[in-house]
Amino acid sequence: MTLERARQRAVTLDSQIDRQLAEHRLDSPANVFSEIRAYLLRRADEMTTRNDPYQLLKFRREQGFEVIVLGPQFDKGPTPQHFHFDSGARLSFGLTLREAERGSQVVSFRYHYAFPDERSPQYLRFDLNDGPHTDPLAEPRCHLHPGIEDVRIPFSVHNPIEILDRIFFVLERAT
């Protein structure tokens, strides 16, 4: 049970994530954008806090890639561009898709859910990197930051809507 064995296991886990991502197909980028917007609009309808996903959610398509973003890349406090929850929490995210045969593939994402002020942890962030780190034990390709920048816990959900499910129906309800 050495550090070296732990690193080998982390490498194996990253390889599994690579395989899952290669096999995982989403709809076309346009469909994914539309689906996320419809999802957010439905959630916004269920809340008291006003959000306008039509204005908040943006995309850019270039050379077979699509970036879908909501809010700032770095959470430095609340902004009008965040999606705001009734609990006082806020969400920003960015995801990149690559066009592929019969749809698209996820390249990377970052979903930052910031808890209301004074809460601990201050945030959870779901990240997918576009490739393996040299030390996958410290930085698995697909990981969760539990409110600490240098701590990354592996996880394996790759569908953008499924991550939003966890944020809206699990995190927000527990906040």
């Binding site: 954008f33 419809a38 204005q55 995309f59 270039e62 699509e66 700032p72 960015g94 994402f109 990240d127």
Partner: protein
């Protein structure tokens, strides 16, 4: 042509959703790139209504075929695409079929802007079914503006203390970290080839 409200497809789909997902409405296609626009309308209807959405070409349909297609199934969303080639005879046939066209799911009549006169003159029953629910296809929104793109690039540059040129050089040398922010950076720079 009377003034009709210009709405993005997303809003048109929302109107149908609020209405309980039934009924008819008409959408006037943009003058250019109407095929791509029709695809977008279909996508938005599926996303918002969470229903299968079929496109049926009116020009190619006989009375019996159209009736059967609309009722098998009868609860999904259907876009009836008129097309510029719809003859007066076809319009009149469509009008006579009005009661046979009634179904549980919504029907969206996709028309070229010039077809609105044919709808009023040759298919008054369908026109009354649609009532005031005629919309002009508007910009669908969501596209990142150049100002927004530049703002996001500036935020990335300030956060990491790197210029766009330096990021490209690092990516070319395979020295760029794999964090999602760098992927966004490259795509915003139109250098997705380096991802």
């Amino acid at each position: 042509m009377p003034e009709f409200s210009t709405e993005p497809f997303f809003e048109i789909a929302r109107r149908l959703e609020v209405r309980g997902e039934t009924g008819w409405l008409a959408v006037l296609s943009p003058a250019t790139d109407s095929t791509a626009a029709l695809d977008e309308l279909q996508t938005e209807l599926q996303s918002v209504l969470q229903k299968l959405t079929r496109v049926i070409q009116l020009e190619a349909s006989t009375f019996e075929k159209l009736r059967d297609t609309l009722h098998q199934p009868d609860d999904d969303a259907v876009i009836l695409s008129g097309g510029a080639g719809l003859t007066p005879e076809k319009w009149r046939t469509l009008d006579i079929m009005r009661s046979a066209l009634e179904r549980k799911g919504p029907v969206i009549l996709w028309l070229a802007p010039d077809d609105i006169a044919n709808l009023a003159n040759l298919a008054p029953n369908i026109r009354s079914l649609i009532g005031g629910s005629i919309f002009v296809a508007g910009p669908d929104g969501g596209i990142m503006t150049e100002t927004e793109r530049q703002y996001r690039l500036k935020q990335l540059s300030e956060h990491f203390g790197l210029t766009g040129e330096e990021v490209v050089r690092k990516a070319e040398a395979r020295e760029l970290p794999h964090d999602p922010e760098f992927v966004e950076w490259l795509v915003l720079l139109d250098r997705g080839d380096l991802v």
